[in-house]
Homo-oligomer: 438 residues x 2
């Protein structure tokens, strides 16, 4: 199975656990059998690997998520990197061109496209396989998954099938309706459009060449920023007449809001939380070290990260976005391909962060124009390279770097560093990367 | 007026803003006319100074609060330091001996004792003056303030007066009753005992010599830790027959719980809080830098400090103490006589703190047995002394100190330092102080 997982979104609805660099699919919220927590993207990835260990999984995503994906899924995962955000049609065209031009697959091979963030069980992945097999038959150019609605949702688009069979021709599509209209759709046998579909590579490549002037994957990648923002539904699906829908009646949840996300939590709380038996239907996710004590609350969500603290009535939590939009966008923590960092303190002319490097990993070799830095190694062993000079470091060592000086740090064991940044224009944009001569 | 302000309590009921080193009276929660915030102790102190600029104010408190008092009231305030906690009778005896033996006042002078944390207005301090003047007349050995009850509280002791006059003999005292009994007391004209009273110094010194074998202030201070824990009410007031009570009918609130404290807040929130109009009767005090967003809540208190986060139904918040008792007692922030510190990060073998020194102030000259330290100066100018060697420091400088090395830092301007502590036994108890040879 060739599977293209679309990993998008800024995830402001799940603030403060998601932010501009960590989308909701990277929040570790699902308890696994060994007692650790995994994210939506980890959960989906391992679910697929369990059903089909040979599955050719590609994650289509933007540059900003690449570090987080490597951090959570390892270095071996295949990523189709979108140089910038251009909606689903260009993203799917790029990933499809990658399968054909880079991985060398024939135009007759099928691919299944699926968002990375539904909360589902194994039967969903069996259904994806069936979707791919149906597309391989060539009865239709596109085979969509139609999810059997469980309530008249106003959040989803609807697919109206011609028949009630397991596989049917698509009659038409309907945009997100109000609740009353949704009821009439459902009475007609309508299904939710979850953005899941299968096709032969040749079909999407043909559509792509119709709409975009490009030669191959490399060329498409090059001119990606000039492409028009357009959704796959609008550009392709809604204009296609040879199109089928296959029913899916299993568990499918879109965990896009705190309200729906907490329904999928096995425990009431994650992190340092002091239990209090006067609370009812309260969910807490605490990523801070400090304890949260809650007393006498009902139907409330509490969530805390270095970005901030949310305390919301469950229903009200769906309306979070405009409030989060007003926040300043200082990134307070992030997962990188080499580890993670967290902002500890910010003053007018300084910032103090804690950097954790995974064993064997290193930062880019880089310099800053407008700030000096001091590394205080607090745990582990490694090597720093400062303007080309190598030096071993261990817990207790201090390294000072003036603005302009090129530097990196390489972790031998897990390495923890308190980094003090000093300057009047501290910004994540003040960074020049260099090739490291090994 | 000689005023002895009793500053006691650990303030766990107002966690996380109060902790083992910051009692509730030091929380800055009252907005002043210039837009800044002041604490209970600051509010009371400046209220007295306004009524009577010549007032001789002495704060009777334990060692642990001395730094916070100097930080909030300045270096000039008179403090009667209790070497350890021994309840109110020894504390009042010690403060009274200080007035007599150190400040040289005659036995005929009067003193007024009053807790530092009632929420009151100017008429209260007028009443304190009247109380002192009544005691000066010598009609009684003790003159108590009797607060007119506003509801049948179960939290206070009651004074039963002989008459309903403004000044009356005391008939008897009643311990904290249940609500029904409180109603019958109030029907008899009972008044709340707020722990406020006036006396001539000679009277309390005589009682002190009766109960404690000591010579003078210095001797009493010396043997303070051998004294029995006993309250002034039990040791003196309840056994005295020449005792009067003076009525007070003005505003008097005991802000001992979140519920009562928030009633005295002028605004709904203090600190970085994102307003949301779907909340009703919600009070938020946020001492963290990160924002708090709350949505759709009712009758809720949210309070956040580096110690932790409380989210509580207002009524439930009164029952906080047992939960706070269970917390580990790592102090995460503190106000010191020289400035303040805040813990930023804790790992197994390290702790990172941010230290702020006020201009002209310095730490004690000290060393640690079991930890190395690194100072990263991030703002200001000053001088460090390391094993007797002086050195100027400014923003960007780094100083490393091995375990055993004696060190201090002196602020010329306001000085901010990121201090990294490294060792396997990091504890506030690992500190040896030394005399600094200037």
């Amino acid at each position: 199975m060739n599977l293209i997982l679309l990993s998008g979104g800024s995830g402001k609805r799940l603030w403060p656990l998601s932010n501009d660099v960590r989308s909701k699919q990277f929040i570790k919220i699902f308890r696994t059998e060994n007692g650790e927590y995994e994210s939506m993207v980890q959960r989906v990835y391992w679910q697929i690997k369990e059903i089909d260990p040979q599955a050719n999984i590609m994650i289509a995503t933007s540059k900003t998520q690449v570090s987080a994906i490597h951090n959570q899924l390892g270095d071996d995962v295949t990523i189709s990197v979108e140089p910038c955000r251009r909606d689903t049609f260009p993203a799917i065209a790029l990933a499809t061109a990658y399968l054909h031009d880079v991985q060398g697959m024939s135009e007759d091979e099928t691919a299944v496209v699926c968002p990375v963030d539904p909360y589902v069980e194994q039967d969903y992945f069996e259904a994806l396989k069936n979707l791919g097999e149906q597309a391989a038959k060539g009865e239709a150019n596109l085979v969509l998954m139609g999810i059997e609605p469980t309530y008249p949702s106003e959040k989803y688009g609807y697919i109206i099938p011609r028949s009630n069979g397991n596989i049917s021709e698509v009659d038409t599509f309907r945009e997100k309706p109000d609740s009353e209209t949704a009821k009439t759709y459902i009475a007609q046998g309508a299904l939710w459009n979850g953005g899941v579909f299968a096709y032969k590579l040749g079909y999407v490549l043909e559509k792509a060449h119709e709409l975009i002037d490009f030669i191959d994957y490399a060329d498409l990648y090059q001119k990606y920023d000039t492409l028009e923002k357009i959704s796959f539904d609008y550009a392709v699906a809604e204009r296609e007449s040879k199109i089928q829908v296959m029913r899916f009646g299993g568990l499918w949840k879109d965990l896009g809001t705190w309200n729906t996300l907490t329904e999928a939590m096995v425990e009431d709380s994650i992190g340092n939380v002091i239990p209090n038996d006067t609370c009812e239907d309260v969910h807490i996710v605490n990523e801070l070290d400090m304890p949260i004590l809650c007393m006498g609350l009902r139907n409330v969500i509490i969530s805390a990260s270095p970005e901030g603290i949310l305390v919301a009535d469950k229903e009200q939590s769906s309306y979070i976005k405009p409030y989060v939009d007003k926040l300043n966008n200082q990134i307070m923590f992030a997962e990188k391909s080499w580890g993670s960092f967290q902002v500890l303190d910010v003053t007018v002319d300084s910032m103090t962060i804690k950097v954790t490097l995974n064993p064997g990993h290193k930062m880019n070799y880089h310099s800053h124009k407008y700030r000096d830095e001091i590394w205080n190694v607090i745990a582990g062993r490694g090597t720093v390279i400062i303007d080309g000079m190598r030096q071993s470091v261990k817990s207790g060592d201090v390294v000072t770097m003036k603005a302009g000086c090129r530097h990196t740090i390489i972790a031998e064991t897990e390495l923890k560093v308190i980094e003090v940044q000093l300057g009047s224009d501290i910004s994540i944009h003040d960074k020049q990367k260099f090739q490291l001569e090994e």
